[in-house]
Structure formats: C-alpha cells, structure tokens
C-alpha cells in the first residue's frame, strides 16, 4: 500500500540546484526521519513534498496523483504540514486554532458544523490538550502550542503528516512527548509521518525509516541501521561512536570532536588504565599529538573501546580474563619504547594486578612513571592489600604522584615546551615543573 512516491526529483532555487535525483517511496504507518546538516536540502525536500516548491523535473505521487496537478485545498484534505513555528498573529482560542484545520473540508461561507467541532475536540483529546480548548493560543507554552498545532493538523484528517523540525524549540520532556505522540499516530492511526530532524539520536530512537541527505543527495536510506559511524562521518563530517541504547534497542550516537591538525610530537607515552579511568586522558594526549600506547586492557573495557576508536596501539586480553603472561610481555615491550608511563586511577583485582608489575618494570628501566592519585588506592584495592603494597614500592622507587588529570596535563605541557627526550620527564625536571604548575593553579 504505497501512498507517497517520489520519482527522480530535482529542485532548484533560481539556478542553484538544491535537490538532486531523489527517489523514495513512503508507506502509511511509517515514521520517516529526514536527517542531514544545514543546507543539505532536507527542508527543501519537505517543501517539494508539501506542494510548496515544485521540482523542476521528476514527480511526486500521492496515491497515484501528481500532487502538482492537484488543487491546494484537495491536498490539504490528505496531507497536513506542521512548519517551523511561525508565531500566531492574533489571540485565537486553542479550539479556534484547531478548528481552522477543518477549513479545507468546508465551502467558503460554511460555518463549522457540530461534526467539525467533534473532530477538532477528538484531535485535542488525542494530543492531550482538550483541557486547553478555551485558553488563548498566545498564552500557551511552547510545548502546549506545538501540540495544539499538531491537533490542528490532525483535524484535517490527513493520511500524511509532514513536520519540519517539530521539536527544535522544546525542552527534553516535551521533545519526548511529541515524538511519542507522532509514533502513536503511525502505529495506531496508520498515518505516514515524515519529519525533518536535527537530533539524530531522537530520530534514531523513534523513526522506523531514515533518509540521510547531503548536498541534496541521498547518502543512505533505510532502517535505523543506516546510522553508522561512516555514514554520519560522510554527512556531518564528525567522528562518532555508535552504540546501542540497551533500554530502547535503538542506535545511540555519541559525537566526538577530533582535532585533526596537531603537530605530532616525537615522545611516546604509555598509559596503563582500565574501567574508563583513562578515556578522557587518552583523547587529550592524542589531541596534543603525543604518540600514545596502552596496555593491558580487557576487550570490551570502556577504555578499550576508546583506544579502538582513537586507533591507539593497545595490548589487549580476552574479556573478563586475567592478564596472561604473553599479554604482559607484549605490554613490557611497549613500555620499553616509551618516554613516559602514566598509571591512571583504576581499581585493581587479581586479574589486572600485573599492570602494577609492568609499572614497576618501567621505573626499573629508568622510564619515568606518573601516578594519577584521583582516588585513594585503599578504595580501589580488591587484592587484599597487594596493590597497596606494590604502589608503595613504586613510589619508593621514584614514581611521581600527581593529584589529578588537569595538573598532569599542565605539567606535561610545561615540560614539553622545553626539549623533549627521555630525560625531559625525569625527576630533576618533573619536581620543579609540578611545583610551578601548582603555584600557577593557586
């Protein structure tokens, strides 16, 4: 049961091509999200579907009729449009506004009948706004007004509902409520809902079909599976991590800015981390241009996901398994090549206690070791005191304890302004550097 067919449309503003060769089919009961950056043509696409901007070539068929051969009034009986909120000029009551949706069904001089009032009230009941019927539209909140506008669209009794960024000016609670409402309209009333959205997470969560646009062309279209890191990189030119929202089982996208133009530094920093304690540090270090290595991390550890995203050379171990001898040796191999080893503040258990041995190895090799002491070792020691013991030895052998990540980064900055060599990070340099940084931060 195809309801809306777009065949090879090309749209122009004057001589500038906005939409190029777009074809798509929509069906009733579908919730379609159009996504794309500013200027990608998504609003233009919506305009051409809504009988506002005629495509230069190609056709748009609504139930086998070319919509540009239909009269505006006849389209309004089948298709309702919620545009990006223009302010309503005069103080009509909410019910009056919803009743205006009946206008396409009335002849020029006809008054609204009891039937029209009943339809309008039904639409308001559906959107949960019936109690607002006598309130003035100009006095309603943004969320209430948007729901009245949607009620007005429903009063048209359309088969197709088009929306241009319907949640843009709403707070989170209202955004979710409006999206829930639209989803219900697809599921229960079998409406075809097509919306332009800015927020890909909101769209991913509610839409069952997505159209990704860039420069007026479809990059990908289909189920929410099209929301891959690669596709998002293509259209928005940003790096993202795509996860699955474990509660809604829909894609969940985390945008991560990547600093692309950094002068690479010659020094290598090895980070021993885990359980997410190192993720932000790893991002900062790579952004600052250091050559970063990591080990040993269990696969599926939060920090491991970060290193794989940042493409950091990492020694890994199978999920939920203790560090094996071979992984430990690989780790020592990486440490030997490093100019500095940083140990972040993470919990120790029997599985990962070997990482502390690796740190001790580093300091015995003459490689400086910085310990981030954000959480007391006593609170993250699940080895019955072993870790505390090893930490004490580390400090005795000359590992430098630093109170937080911010101080660490400032100290690194301070040190690397001078010449970079293995000795840059050695104690005689580090102690005065830390003292200076502390002083500045006070």
């Amino acid at each position: 049961m195809v309801h809306l067919k777009i065949n090879n449309i090309n749209c122009y503003y004057d001589s500038i091509k906005i939409i190029e060769d777009i074809s798509f089919q929509f069906q009733t009961g579908q919730f379609v999200g159009i996504l794309g950056p500013n200027g990608s043509g998504k609003t233009t696409l919506l305009k051409s579907i809504s009988h506002t901007l005629k495509p230069k070539t190609g056709t748009i068929l609504l139930e086998d009729d070319d919509i540009y051969t239909l009269k505006a009034v006849d389209i309004a009986k089948k298709m309702a449009v919620v545009s990006q909120g223009a302010a309503i000029a005069f103080s009509f009551t909410a019910l009056d506004v919803v009743l205006m949706g009946r206008s396409p069904h009335l002849s020029r001089f006809a008054m609204e009948s009891e039937k029209d009032v009943a339809i309008a009230k039904k639409a308001m009941t559906y959107t949960g706004t019936l109690h607002l019927q006598d309130r003035l539209i100009t006095e309603l909140s943004g969320g209430e007004r948007q729901r009245i506008i949607i009620s007005r669209a429903l009063a048209q009794e359309p088969q197709v509902l088009l929306l241009d960024e319907p949640t843009t000016f709403l707070d989170v609670a209202n955004q979710l409520e409006i999206m829930d409402l639209l989803k219900q309209l697809c599921d229960n009333k079998k409406l075809l809902v097509i919306g332009v959205f800015h927020d890909f997470n909101l769209a991913a969560r509610y839409c069952d079909s997505l159209v990704l646009l860039k420069n007026g062309k479809i990059v990908a279209a289909g189920t929410t599976d099209v929301l891959t890191s690669e596709n998002i990189k293509t259209i928005f030119n940003i790096d993202t991590v795509v996860k699955q929202n474990s509660i809604t089982k829909t894609p969940y996208i985390i945008p991560i800015s990547v600093n692309h133009e950094v002068p690479l530094r010659s020094s290598t920093i090895h980070v021993i981390c885990g359980s997410g304690s190192g993720s932000s540090l790893l991002k900062r270090l790579t952004d600052d241009g250091y050559n970063v290595t990591v080990g040993v991390l269990n696969l599926l550890d939060t920090d491991q996901e970060t290193t794989s995203f940042l493409k950091i050379h990492t020694v890994t171990e199978a999920p939920m398994s203790p560090i094996s001898e071979s992984a430990h040796n690989d780790n020592l191999g990486l440490i030997k090549k490093a100019d500095l080893v940083i140990v972040t503040s993470f919990p120790y258990g029997p599985g990962n206690i070997k990482n502390l041995d690796a740190a001790t190895f580093a300091i015995e090799q003459g490689i400086p070791v910085f310990l981030l002491d954000e959480t007391l070792i006593e609170l993250r020691d699940y080895t019955k005191g072993q870790a505390q013991e090893k930490m004490k030895i580390l400090k005795n052998k000359g590992a430098v304890s630093i109170k937080d990540e911010k101080t660490l980064l400032s100290a690194l900055n301070y040190l690397t302004k001078k010449q970079v060599s293995k000795s840059t990070f050695s104690l005689p340099h580090v102690v005065p550097a830390l003292a200076t940084v502390e002083e500045v931060s006070h």
Binding site: M79, V81, I88, F92, M111, K121, R152
Partner: protein
C-alpha cells in the same frame, strides 16, 4: 458519546447566535448614535421630531403616518444632518474594514489605511482631481473617487513593492516605508493646498478630515465602492483567520496566498478611497477600531470584519458630534477628535493588555 455531540452542537450554533446578537446590538447603538447626531447641533431638534420626519418621509410608511413638522426642521434633518451622519457612518465603517483587512493581511495590529500609505495616496489622488478640474460626476460615480482609488492603489502597490525582499514582505519594512510614503504624500497634499487655496473650499476636510460639506451625493457615490469592497473582503474572512497561523500554514491549508493578497489589496483600496473622498484624512479609526473589536469580541475575521464596520460607524458618528459641539459654533476637524479620543484610549488598552499578559 451522545451527550458529547449534543454539547458540541450547541457549541457550533451558539457561536453563530452570539455573533448575530453582537451585530444586532451594535446596529441598535449605531441607529441611536445617528439619531443623536441629527438631534445635536447649532439648532437642536427633539427626538420626537426626528422620528416624525422619518415616518412621514419614508416611502410606504408615509401612507400610515403623517405628522406636521416645520419645513425648516424637515430640510435640516433630511438634507443636512442625516446625510452627514450617514457619511460619517460610511467612512467609519470603510476605514475600520480596510484596517481589519490590512491587519489580517500583514499579520500585524499596527497596519491600517493610514500607516501603510493608502489614505494619503487616496487623498493625493482626489486632490489632483480637484486641481486639474476633473471633479465631475459621470453615471453616478464621481471622478474624484476614481482618482482617489487610483492614487490609493498605486501607493499601496508601490509601498508593497519597495518593501518586498525576495518573495517576502517583512512587516517592519512595510510599515516603515508606508509611514514614509504617507508623510511624503501628505506633504504634497499640503503643498497643493498652499499653492491653490481658491480651489479648496474644503481645505480642513482634506488635511484633518471633516464632514462639514457632505451631502447626499457623497453618500451615493461612496456607497457602491464600500459595499462591493466590503463584500469582497468579507469573502476572505476565513482565509484571513488561516493567515494568522502563518503564511506557509495558510498555504498548506489550501489558501491561494498571492491571489488573496492582490484581491484584498485592491478591495481595501476601494473602500479606503471611498472613505477618504468623502471625509479626507482621518487617522486612528482604521487602526484602533479593529484592534478594540478584536479585544472585546473575537479575533475571528468572520465576526471581526462586520463588527468592526459597525463599531467604526458608531465611533465616527460620535466623533463627528463632538467635533461640532466642543467649540460650537465653530467646528473642529473630525480627525482632531479621533486622534484626541483614539490616542489615549489606544495607549490605555495597550497598557491594560500588557498587565494581563504579565499577570
């Protein structure tokens, strides 16, 4: 469910009944104002005489009623004061309707025939007709009115064209250019009056508005313009409601926006020109009457337009009475009265609305 549809039935019909009642009441008030206007003046005429003269002189009724009233009173009522009151009513209705149309069309309560330059354009057109000596009547239509109409239409389209940015007409630019053009044309009208004083026995009439010299011919020449224009404007009243939602919203609800704009601009020019050619430049009526009507009754143009018309008629008839009595026996230009009454009242309403909005 049965209950629900019953209550919604009364809901729909109650609205129509309410509107009918509003218009009926307003017409009664208008009739009283006209009688009052006839009664008050340099020579005051008792109400009873006015009613007697009307009964005696209405075709059909004069077979049943015949009262002896002095010929002086009869002439004063029928040839001077009644046409004058009707002219005031017609001009008030026309300006209010044009104001309601402009406000709806431009989605802005600050638009009116005066602020967008329509009145000044009509005044310049009519003044030009007087100067070139074309003030003749052909088949019941005064050439002065034709000129006023042309002047009004040219001005509105000129203002509309220069305010146009791409395919949109931003309201701020429209009002600013309207006011600028209005002042410019007003200055030209002023200059004509200084250059050709002997041609303008009705000088005050053009500059501040007056009904001193109005007669039956004015009523008959303005009436067709006002009736036709008003009917056309009323035909678009539901479309004007939809336009309040926004231009693209109206289009999506099936309104042919560009066609509607053109027709309404021409129809409003029709009624504005008719009003200006019988009354001169009267400010505030077109601005304040639709505004007040919207506040008191409803922003729904299906009642707003007819109610504004009657409200405008009442307002101008009462203002004309004031213009005659304030410094009797000398008359004030009625435009002075509308400005003096209208300005403060408008400010009061704005303040009150502000308080309601913030509370």
């Amino acid at each position: 469910m049965l209950n629900k549809s019953k209550s919604s039935k009364s809901n729909a019909t109650r609205k129509t009944q309410k509107w009918a009642l509003i218009l009926f009441t307003l017409f009664i008030i208008l009739a009283c104002s006209i009688v009052l206007s006839i009664s008050i003046g340099y020579v005051s005429i008792p109400f009873s005489n006015i009613i007697k003269v009307f009964l005696t002189n209405t075709p059909g009724l004069n077979r049943l009623f015949s009262y002896p009233v002095s010929t002086v009173d009869t002439a004063l009522i029928l040839q001077v004061r009644f046409p004058r009151a009707l002219c005031a009513a017609l001009a008030g209705a026309a300006l209010a309707i044009a104001g309601a149309a402009y406000q709806g069309l431009f989605r802005n309560p600050m638009a009116d025939p005066y602020t967008i330059g329509a009145s000044s354009g009509a005044a310049l057109g009519a003044t030009t007709a007087v100067i070139v000596g074309l003030s003749v009547t052909i088949i019941g239509i005064n050439t002065m009115q034709i000129f006023a109409f042309i002047g009004c239409l040219l001005t509105v389209f000129f203002v509309y064209a220069i305010s146009r940015v791409g395919s949109k007409v931003p309201v701020q630019t429209l009002l600013l250019s309207g006011i600028a053009v209005s002042i410019l044309l007003g200055a030209i009208v002023n200059a004509y009056h200084s250059l050709f004083p002997e041609q303008f026995r009705r000088s005050a009439f053009w500059l501040m508005g007056s009904f001193s010299y109005t007669e039956w011919a004015d009523v008959w020449s303005a009436l067709p313009f006002i009736i036709i224009g008003s009917i056309v404007i009323y035909m678009f009243s539901r479309d004007l409601n939809l336009l309040a939602l926004g231009e693209s919203e109206a289009t999506h609800l099936g309104v042919d926006l560009e066609k509607m704009k053109k027709i309404l601009l021409i129809a409003s020019a029709f009624v504005t020109a008719a009003a200006v050619s019988i009354s001169g430049l009267i400010a505030f009526v077109g601005l304040i009457i639709p505004h007040v009507t919207r506040m008191i009754f409803s922003p729904d143009h299906r009642i707003l337009i007819p109610a504004s018309a009657v409200m405008g008629a009442i307002f101008l008839v009462l203002c004309d009475i004031l213009a005659r009595v304030v410094i009797a026996p000398t008359e004030l230009p009625v435009g002075v009265v509308t400005a003096v009454c209208g300005g403060p009242f408008f400010l009061y309403l704005m303040r009150r609305k502000k308080k309601v909005d913030t509370s």
